[in-house]
């Protein structure tokens, strides 16, 4: 007996199962049902072809044993057909009930999937908050850097002023010494008092200018301190503002989540009730 299955049966099996799988992937229950029927038929054909080529009816005394068809696959197919029939009836009833309840026979979303999709919305909101927070932080950072720059500039200015002061003092000294030498060469003795007077004057002038400069530096420092204080306050203010805005965002987020939950619960009635 030839055991090779015919190519035609195998090809038909393949086509039926392929079409069945395609229909199984549809949303509509009726199409799924058609897919199940096609796949079932395809598999039955496959089981039939496992019995080898066709032979006579497997009845003792009617057909010689060597010409009999294999009866077992046929018995299995009969059983499978009955089962498919039952399942088909049930699926039809379910599709009809589904149509009664909601006007279509589509397979509904998985509640869990829906929750995950909803979670996606929540994630989006969270991302938004995080982005805003990042932006505010960056703003604070730039302000701080600005403040640092301004302080450094102030320091530089002070240093430059001090240097100018020192050079002016040195210049005054030099001038004094030069005038002393000139005085010593000119009229000695007679001009002594005058020279001393001039030295005193010069000193006085120098002290005055130093005091002036000190005052100036002091006021600069004062200004700087003031500046820093204001800066700190601004920073604090900004942080407060940041916190406030984050809090407000969170509040909005939570309200949105609550609203969404309620909406879903209402839309899905029992399905999502209490499952979030």
């Amino acid at each position: 007996m030839n055991d090779t299955p015919t190519l035609l049966l195998v090809a038909v099996t393949g086509v039926l199962v392929a079409v069945g799988v395609m229909l199984l992937l549809e949303r509509s229950l009726t199409r799924v049902l058609l897919g199940v029927i096609l796949m079932g038929n395809g598999i039955n054909l496959m089981i039939l072809s496992t019995g080898g080529t066709a032979g006579g009816p497997p009845l003792l005394g009617l057909t010689p044993e060597s010409e009999m068809a294999d009866p077992l696959p046929q018995a299995m197919i009969l059983t499978a057909i009955v089962i498919t029939l039952g399942v088909t009836a049930f699926l039809l009833a379910m599709a009809y009930r589904s149509w009664q309840l909601q006007g279509n026979d589509d397979v509904q979303d998985d509640a869990e999937d829906r929750r995950i999709a909803f979670g996606g919305g929540r994630r989006e909101l969270r991302r938004q908050i995080r982005r805003q927070r990042r932006e505010l932080r960056a703003e604070i950072r730039t302000q701080r850097a600005d403040l640092r720059d301004r302080m450094a500039a102030q320091d530089r200015r002070e240093a430059a002023e001090r240097a100018a002061l020192r050079s002016r003092m040195l210049a005054a000294d030099r001038e004094l010494r030069a005038s002393l030498r000139a005085g010593g060469r000119g009229g000695a003795g007679a001009d002594d008092a005058e020279v001393a007077q001039r030295i005193r004057d010069a000193r006085q002038a120098r002290q005055d200018s130093v005091a002036d400069l000190r005052r100036e530096v002091e006021s600069c420092r004062e200004g700087l301190r003031e500046h820093r204080r204001i800066d700190r306050e601004t920073e604090r203010e900004m942080r407060r503002e940041l916190r406030r805005r984050v809090r407000a965002q969170k509040r909005r987020l939570h309200t949105a989540i609550r609203a969404e939950r309620e909406r879903l619960a209402r839309a899905e009635d029992s399905d999502l009730q209490g499952s979030d």
Binding site: L24, V32, I47, R97, L101, Q102, G103, Q273, G274, D276
Partner: protein
């Protein structure tokens, strides 16, 4: 005794099937008699299961060739130690759930629907489960699967409410897909080996080319893994089980996935003993455990949470199968028996919680420990058992599996051991959350549904316009009529329309739940003999010879 023992083997299938037919013929008359019939049939199955359990342990596997057609031509029903244990445990829990459902049906005053639909379908489900456990050939195993699946379609969509049709669509389509896969695998196996008798396949399959054998093995595994809800084929379960009525969910969660696990154990040990996909199974077990329990941690509805722990704990059994050693298999068998009982008990308690507290959502419940200490105890014991607190049977089962894993000693096995410890801890965490929320914390004012509240599922057929007006029919809206005017609630009735929450729970429901909790404790109390039995069952599975010689006393030809 020994020579008549094998006549008992078909009875766990025949008795429920026969009773179901009788009840369909009687219809809705003679309500009391019918309830008694259902209980009597399942009690008889339980008794037969116990006799088989001890008989098979003493006298070896028992075989019945249906219609006296000898194997491999006829259909063989085989009861070895594993089958006998599964039949006994399934009979025990189906009996418990039946008593519970009778209590619920009486309490809800719905006389007609349970008798006309629930009882016959339920008995057919039991027959299908027994048939799958006892099947001695691959095609009969397929038929057993189909019987129980078709019955489960009806039970899951009982009442035909919006939520159940939605969940049922997913469940039916996924189950159909697994059945079709299984059928293809059966056909290919027949083409490759020329037989579907399991014992003969055990002899012949090693002779088929190795690659072809691998294809058959993987196809069968995929079909069973969908049934057993092994990750990544588990996504359908947590979405479909929780919408069914409490007794239905309980028996589904307890039994149906375990039928898939049983089929995996049977085919892995008998047909494919060389363990070529063991590593794959290990990874699948790890993923099932961890992903499942992480899902459970995220839930707030008790039913959904329990469904996820169910998925997660299937991983333990797959772990045992994947180890393939005697200890691993013994651990898996013990764990299956333990888990059937505990998971069923927990779902039944959830039904009681719903009846007492008016909800299964942790956010709505509170203070149940004070309101109803009995329910609290009935929840606490199996919950701790599930989490694996010593000395309960969950701990023993996990310990056995972990020991087997350490014995295997491969890095992968150690990873699995670590994963199972983690899963156990997370289970404890998830369960403790339920305990804290539903039982321990003070109930929020106004949040708890008062006793006497009517949880109702309104059907749209009550409004005549919507039955054929697709645009208007928006599905049934569940609502609660109560002085406090709460808006939504879900009622899991058995085809009836309402549940009235009350402080006094029906005795039959509490009794059945307590019975299952006690059965779970019995697994702890009689752990010694039971683990001995599981060890012998595993040795028998690995030896293969007892099974094969029982089916073919004269040797396979």
């Amino acid at each position: 005794m020994a020579d008549i023992l094998h006549y008992l083997v078909p009875l766990p299938v025949v008795l429920p099937l026969f009773t179901a037919g009788l009840k369909l013929a009687i219809g809705t008359r003679l309500a009391r008699l019918q309830r008694a019939m259902s209980v009597a049939a399942l009690t008889a199955v339980l008794a037969i299961g116990l006799v088989l359990l001890f008989g098979v342990d003493a006298h070896g596997p028992q075989v019945v060739h249906v219609g006296e057609w000898g194997a491999p031509i006829g259909i063989a029903l085989v009861a070895d130690r594993l089958s006998a244990l599964m039949v006994t445990v399934s009979a025990a829990i189906t009996l418990g759930v039946l008593v519970y459902s009778i209590g619920q049906g009486l309490a809800d005053e719905d006389e007609v629907a349970p008798l006309a639909v629930f009882h016959p379908t339920y008995l057919i489900l039991v027959a299908g489960v027994s048939n799958a456990f006892l099947a001695g050939d691959l095609f009969n195993l397929y038929v057993g699967f189909e019987i129980l699946l078709t019955a489960s379609y009806v039970l899951l969509t009982i009442g035909g409410t919006h939520a159940r049709i939605r969940a049922g669509a997913t469940y039916v389509v996924v189950s159909l897909l697994s059945s079709l896969l299984f059928l293809i695998a059966v056909g290919l196996t027949y083409a490759a080996a020329g037989t579907v008798n399991l014992a003969q396949l055990a002899v012949r399959l090693p002779e088929v080319p190795a690659e072809l054998g691998l294809v058959l093995q993987v196809m069968l595994l995929a079909a069973f893994a969908i049934k057993a809800a092994v990750f990544p084929l588990s996504a359908w379960l947590p979405d479909s089980y929780p919408t069914a009525p409490a007794p239905v969910t309980a028996v589904f969660a307890g039994l149906l996935t375990k039928v898939g696990v049983y089929a995996m154990i049977r085919t892995q040990t008998l047909l494919f003993p060389d363990g070529r996909v063991d590593d794959l199974l290990m990874w699948a077990a790890l993923a099932t455990m961890v992903v499942g329990i992480l899902g459970a941690v995220a839930q707030t509805d008790i039913k959904r949470l329990l469904s996820f722990t169910l998925v997660s704990h299937i991983g333990y059994m797959v772990f045992g199968i994947a180890l393939g050693s005697a200890h691993g298999l013994a651990g898996a068998v013990y764990y299956v028996a333990h888990h059937i009982t505990v998971q069923t008990g927990l779902f039944l308690v959830t039904g009681l919680i719903e009846r007492r507290g008016g909800s299964t959502s942790m956010t709505d419940l509170g203070g149940l420990a004070r309101l109803s200490p009995l329910v609290a105890i009935l929840f606490f014991v199996p919950a701790m058992n599930l989490a694996g607190i010593p000395p309960l049977s969950g701990f023993l089962g996990k310990l056995g599996l972990m020991q087997a894993g350490v014995q295997a000693g491969t890095p992968l096995a150690y990873t699995l051991v670590a994963g199972s410890v983690l899963t156990s801890l997370l289970t404890l965490y998830a369960i403790a959350r339920v305990w804290n929320h539903a039982f321990w914390r003070a109930p929020a004012a106004g949040a708890v549904i008062a006793p006497g509240t009517v949880l109702e599922e309104t059907e749209e057929d009550e409004s005549p316009t919507s039955a054929f007006g697709p645009g208007e029919a928006v599905g049934p809206s569940s609502r609660v009529r109560t002085p406090a005017a709460r808006t939504v609630a879900r009622a899991s009735t058995l085809g009836g329309r309402r549940i009235v929450t009350s402080t006094s729970l029906p005795a039959a429901m509490v009794g059945a739940t307590a019975g299952l909790v006690l059965l779970g404790l019995a697994f702890t109390l009689f752990a010694g003999p039971l683990i001995g039995y599981c060890d012998r069952a595993a040795a028998e599975l690995l030896a293969r010879a007892p099974y094969i010689t029982a089916v073919f006393p004269g040797g396979t030809s």
